[in-house]
Symmetry: C2
Subunit: 362 residues, 2 copies
Amino acid sequence: MTESHFRPIGTRIGILGGGQLARMLSLAASRLGMKTHIFCPDPLSPAFEVTPHRTVADYEDRDALARFAAEVDIVTYEFENVPLATAAFLAGLRPLMPNARALAVAQDRLAEKRFLADAGIAIAPFAPVGSLGDFEAALGEIGIPCVLKTTRLGYDGKGQRMIRSGADAMPAYADLGGTDLVLERLVPFEREISVVVARAGTGETRAFDPAENVHRDHMLFTSTVPAGISETVAEKARIIAADIAEVLDFVGVLGVEFFVATDTTSPALLVNEIAPRVHNSGHWTEAVCLTDQFEQHIRAICGWPLGDPARMADVRMVNLVGDEIEAVADMLEPGDAPHVYGKSQPRPGRKMGHLNRVTLRR
Amino acid sequence: MTESHFRPIGTRIGILGGGQLARMLSLAASRLGMKTHIFCPDPLSPAFEVTPHRTVADYEDRDALARFAAEVDIVTYEFENVPLATAAFLAGLRPLMPNARALAVAQDRLAEKRFLADAGIAIAPFAPVGSLGDFEAALGEIGIPCVLKTTRLGYDGKGQRMIRSGADAMPAYADLGGTDLVLERLVPFEREISVVVARAGTGETRAFDPAENVHRDHMLFTSTVPAGISETVAEKARIIAADIAEVLDFVGVLGVEFFVATDTTSPALLVNEIAPRVHNSGHWTEAVCLTDQFEQHIRAICGWPLGDPARMADVRMVNLVGDEIEAVADMLEPGDAPHVYGKSQPRPGRKMGHLNRVTLRR
C-alpha cells in the first residue's frame, strides 16, 4: 500500500536496527524535528547514543514489538534482514516504510534476481542451486567464470565463492552447500557504480548522482563522485533505480548497485543487488548534497516534499575500518568531513566511520 | 589557561543549556563519535531528545553539578548567561571551554565594551549609567540619537530603549532604571554583519565568511552569505574576530556582530557585541560549509584540527519563529535545507527552527 500521509514535526519514528545507518537516520530525523526510537537487541548499539528512546529486545519478541509500536507513529528499518514475520506484525500496528515486499525481495538473492528479471531489469545470468545436481546443471548453463552465493545473509563478501576454473567448482559447493544457493555468471565489468534513489508516497522519485565504488577485502572501500561514466550511462542508472523503486511501490531511500559491463555483448548496466535502505555508497551525500540520503529517507517516509539531491562539489568517501578509526583526527586533511559511528569496539573488518574528502569547484 | 589537549573519540562532552544550540552541538558531536550530556533545568529541553545522557537541575545546584562533572570529560555551554560561580565551580572539576573569562565579558555589556575598548577594537562611544545623574551626564557626552541598554540579560531587543530625541530620554530611563545601564551612541550604519570564528587551543584560528544580518521585531530574521561588502571589509572583519578570540585566549567558536558604518568619520567596522558560543547568524554554515560552526566548536574543544570553513554555495538563512514552524514542510522550496529544533511549544517570538536557502553555483 502506498503511504503518502503527511507527518508533522514531532512524529515519533521507530527504527529497527541500532547500527550506524540507524544512527545517521536518527540524526537526520532530529534535524527535521522528529523523535526517534531505536529497537535493537544489542545493548551497546551506537544508535542508542543519539536518542533517549530505546528498546533492547530480540526482533522476534512480540511483546516488545507491540510496546515499541505503541510508542511510535511510523516504523522504518536500517537493514534488509528484518524477519518477515516481524515486519508483518509491525505493519499490522503502524505504517511500515519501506514496505515488507521490499524486505522480502532484498533479503533473498534468488527472489531479488527473479524480481529484477520479471521487472525487465538487466542482470547477469543466474540459476538457482538447491542440490549438487542443480549445481552441475547450473555450471553448464551459466558457464565459468561464475560466482556461487548463498541466497540469504550474505554481505561484505560473506557467503560467496568465486569459480574461475573447473577446479574451483567442487570446493565452492563444499563450502556453501547445504543451504539455498544461486550461481551467477561473472560478467566482465569495467567498474562498479551505485545509485541511491528516493521515492515518495506520491510516486515522485529523486536520484542522487551515481557513485563509483571500489572494494577492498570484499568491503566497500571508497565511493567517488562523479563516477567515471558518461552522463548518458549515469542517467540510465538513475532511471533504472527509479524504475525498481516504482515496481516495489517503495517509499523511502533505496540503494541500487550496478556493474558497468566491459564488453558490448552485455547491456551496459547490469544490476548487481538492491538494498531497501540508506546505503554505504551514499554516505558522500552528507557532505556535499543539498539534501543527503538520510534526510531524504526521513522526508519520504514522513510525506514531506523530497529534497534536491544536487551536489555542490566533487567528493570521495573513504570507509574507516577496524582500528583505523583511532587515528581519524590525525588523518584529517583540509576539506575532510569525518563521520565516526561511535561503536564501542573497533574489531577488525568492522566499519567504524568514514571520511568524505571534498574537492571544491574553484 | 590554554587547553589544547587531544580528546579521543568517545569523549564525554558536558553541555550547559538544553536549547537549540546545545541540540545542534550534540548532533555535531555525535558525528565525530563523541558522547554528550546535557545539563538544563527545563525538563522539556529540546536537546534532551538527541542524547540519552541528561541532568535536570538548576545551574546553582552544586551536588548536581558535581555529579554532572563526574560523568563527563570536558564541559562547554550554549549560552553566555551561565552563572560565573557555576562556571568557576565546574572549571575546578573539568576543563571548561570556552573559559570563564569569555563568559564574564560576554554576559555584562559594560564589561564587554571595556574589554573591547582596552583591546583596541573599534566600538561605538559609550558611557556607564548607574544613576539619574550618570544618565544626564552620559546624554551630554554621547549625544542623541543613542541607545540605553541594561548591562545584563539583554537579548533579542530585550532591555533596550532607543533615544531618537530629547523627549525619549526620561521615559527610557524610567523603563530601565534601577539596574546597571550603559548608554551607547547610535552610529549611522549601512548594514549589520557578523563573523563566526573558531580558535583552537594551539592558537590557530579559522573564520567563516561574514554573514549580512537583517532583524525583524528585534530578532535575527535572515543571514545572507555573501554579505554585501567588499572582500577588504570581509577580511578586516575576520581579522578583528580572530583578534578578539586571541585576547580572550578563547577555545571554541565565537560570534562577533559588527556595524558597517555609513559615514567615513567612524571606522568602517564597529563591533556591536560578542557571543562566546555558536551563533544564530552562523546556522547557514550547516548547509554549505565543508565544516560547520557546530562541528568546528567540537573540533576546537576536543583538540582536533580545525576544519575548513570554505563554503560551496551562496545561502540565506531564514529564522522560523513561533507557529511559522508548523508550516515548514509547505514552505520548502527546492534547495532548502530545513532545521527544526523540536521545541514542545511554538510560543510567539520563540525561535523554532530555520531554513537554509541555498543557491548553487552553476
